[in-house]
């Protein structure tokens, strides 16, 4: 009995093109003007937040920071597509998602300034803290989704990672578990074309991330990661599908990291200005702005207001985190165990 061939569509799903035009009306999600404005405002806020972080870092007021510029649509579009009771599992580049789920901005700065207290996630946010080891958070999300399934909770886990992460065993083992146990997990790979200095074509001989889903018998989708409508639509569908018990999805958001990998990096060493410029022309924010202008829901006054608003929030956050009491050294001994073992108790005494 001949089997069906496996097929996967490698086209990039797009709704809003580089010029701010809707190219796929059929798929355009039902969004009120206010929804669209919210998207825009969050994307601007993320950009301002990020710019300020880079500035603070240059001034020595922040430590290593990983910019999300260029990836705002992928992050905000996806973050708006899951619910409050869903889990969000980040890598280190997801400040746009954090911002969308209302994480206090000052705490994000605090964390990126090397103060662990910044990762005290508010009670009403179901998020894991930032994961630094690339890909390591993926199987955690699978475990969380699995717990949701086992406990009959109406909650999906959404995990974020980069193109580089797909090379790690953690991705492989996690995604395979997700397939086998059909857990409600949505895998969002922001393929920003680079893992520090390693371009995607040297990361894997596969042409796309999406096709890696085939290895796990799960659905894989490619979407224009700079198109907030497309990302929103695809993630929303995947989350709904997961929630309905119909299994996990691997989503490749094709996007670009406009800045250095982190503030410790210098992209001029390994990529051309032409390439970066080419992607700047696909900027997710400019594109949405163009669309909104055409739709009559954007004008200069609105822009000023959005920008001022964002700047006010960010400057308040800056003030707040910079005026926080420094952490108490002795607190490094807390939260290691529920009850401090005598070994550490002794070390703690010694420290005092």
């Amino acid at each position: 009995m001949p089997k069906d061939d496996i097929k996967i569509d490698l086209d990039i799903f797009q709704i809003l093109n580089e010029d701010g035009k809707i190219v796929n009306t059929k798929e355009m999600p039902q969004l009120k003007n206010d929804d669209i404005k919210r998207m825009y405002e969050l994307m601007v806020l993320a950009r301002v937040f990020d710019d300020t972080a880079l500035k603070l870092q240059r001034e020595g007021r922040m430590l290593t920071y990983a910019s999300l510029q260029g990836q705002e649509a992928a992050q905000i579009g996806s973050a708006l597509a899951f619910q409050k009771n869903d889990w969000f599992v980040p890598s280190y580049r997801e400040n746009g998602v954090f911002i969308t789920v209302n994480y206090p901005l000052d705490m994000l700065y605090q964390y990126w300034a090397g103060d662990e207290r910044g990762m005290k996630i508010p009670d009403d946010i179901n998020a894991l803290p930032v994961a630094i080891p690339v890909g390591s958070q993926i199987p955690h999300a699978v475990g969380i989704a699995w717990a949701n399934k086992l406990m009959g909770r109406d909650s999906v886990a959404v995990v974020y990672f980069g193109d580089g992460a797909t090379s790690k065993g953690d991705f492989h083992e996690g995604a395979n578990f997700a397939g086998v146990f059909q857990v409600p997990c949505v895998f969002i790979c922001q393929n920003n074309q680079w893992a520090i200095s390693v371009p995607f074509k040297k990361q894997t001989h596969a042409e796309t991330v999406a096709q890696k889903a085939i290895a796990y018998g799960i659905e894989g989708v490619r979407v224009d990661g700079n198109d907030v409508f497309a990302v929103f639509k695809i993630v929303k569908d995947a989350v709904a599908k997961a929630r309905a018990g119909k299994g996990p999805t691997l989503i490749e958001c094709v996007t670009y990291r406009l800045q250095h990998h982190t503030t410790a990096d210098d992209w001029t060493k390994y990529r051309t200005p032409e390439e970066v410029d080419m992607w700047k022309r696909k900027d997710p924010i400019a594109r949405l702005k163009k669309y909104m202008e055409d739709e009559g829901i954007w004008n200069e006054a609105y822009e000023m207001q959005v920008l001022n608003d964002a700047k006010a929030k960010v400057s308040e956050a800056t003030k707040k985190f910079e005026s926080a009491e420094p952490p108490k050294p002795i607190d490094m001994f807390t939260n290691v165990y529920e009850e401090l073992p005598p070994e550490i108790e002794e070390q703690r005494k010694d420290f005092e």
Binding site: D123, P133, I144, L150, Y337
Partner: protein, 323 residues
């Protein structure tokens, strides 16, 4: 009821699963097959697919999804099939299980129990005979427990399952079926910070854990009362019961540490350092280390020459006594 270690662990698992619906088991071949050591025999039949879970062959997946499960409210008990295959899991244990509480500032914790058949002596293939406790005890944020017999196995496992922090539970596979003891059906727990004095004595302290307890007992029996030997059974390696160790060494002034793992940077070294810290002046002889060698555990034909045995232990006791 008289039980061996396998049965005692099985009983503890059964009872805790009956008590607490969030307890689940996951590992390779632990379901229908009952596990390669038969520890989980019957549990899949009793609790079903959703609680006794055969996973894909992927150790990182097992431990890392367990971390996620634990964070989200389950009490997963992941199993690795043999100690030698736990090495890929160290990353997730070190970088995540032991740190999630810290990283989340106390918001999340990782109440999992990682079951590891531990050590050699079963004439098995390569990588089936490792003793990795020195790795686990060096990792902040986790506890390390190792029973030495059926009775304490049950009590320690129940405590481990109820512990809010990640526990590595090292099961001495060599004595899985070698010791039978009365093990009560009734619930009891053994605290995760207490060593036990297996035999009181005044001449020399012998410290061992896990499968080595049995060999130490045999060695001391062979001495036939020549020396008054105090035998300590650590049970929990981190946090370790330093008071009992120090009190004993202060009393006897001599000490022998028995460790199956390779010598260098083994757990025995930490015990010697602890004694150095707190009882140096009581020492009348260097602490003797009886250990595996700094070589891979040999295949079965030579394995017995590698693992500490009665002769080597008694040689060390003599060395301590005659120093």
């Amino acid at each position: 009821m008289k039980m061996n270690l396998v049965q005692a662990i099985g009983l503890a698992l059964t009872q805790e699963m009956e008590n607490d619906p969030s307890v689940i088991l996951l590992g390779e071949d632990i379901g229908e097959d009952g596990g390669v050591f038969r520890v989980t025999e019957g549990l899949w039949q009793q609790f079903g697919d959703n609680r006794v879970i055969d996973t894909p062959l992927a150790e990182v997946g097992i431990i890392a999804t367990s971390i996620g499960l634990a964070i989200a409210g389950m009490k997963p008990i992941p199993e690795v099939q043999f100690d030698g295959f736990s090495l890929p899991m160290l990353d997730q244990i070190y970088n995540h299980a032991g740190r999630m509480r810290k990283r989340s500032q106390g918001k999340y914790h990782v109440p999992l129990v990682f079951r590891v058949p531990h050590g050699g002596g079963i004439r098995a293939l390569e990588h089936h005979s490792e003793s990795l406790e020195a790795f686990f005890t060096h990792i902040p944020g986790i506890k390390v427990v190792t029973p030495s017999g059926p009775y304490n196995a049950k009590g320690l496992l129940v405590s481990s399952i109820r512990d809010p922090d990640p526990v590595v539970f090292l099961e001495p596979k060599r004595i899985y079926r070698a010791i039978k003891e009365e093990v009560p059906e009734e619930e009891y727990t053994i605290p995760l910070n207490k060593a036990e004095i297996r035999q009181e004595g005044s001449d020399v302290t012998v410290i061992a854990w896990g499968a080595m307890q049995k060999i130490v007992k045999e060695a001391v029996e062979k001495l036939a009362g020549k020396y008054s030997v105090e035998i300590l059974d650590l049970l929990t390696l981190y946090p370790v019961d330093r008071n009992t160790i120090i009190d004993s060494v202060k009393k006897t002034g001599r000490c022998v540490v028995v460790q199956e793992a390779p010598r260098t940077c083994g757990y025995g070294a930490e015990l010697i350092a602890t004694i150095n810290d707190k009882a140096l002046l009581s020492l009348e002889a260097p602490v003797q280390r009886v250990t595996g060698y700094d070589i891979p555990v040999p295949l079965p034909k030579l394995e017995n020459y590698y693992i500490p045995d009665v002769t080597r232990i008694n040689k060390a006791i003599e060395a301590a006594m005659s120093f």
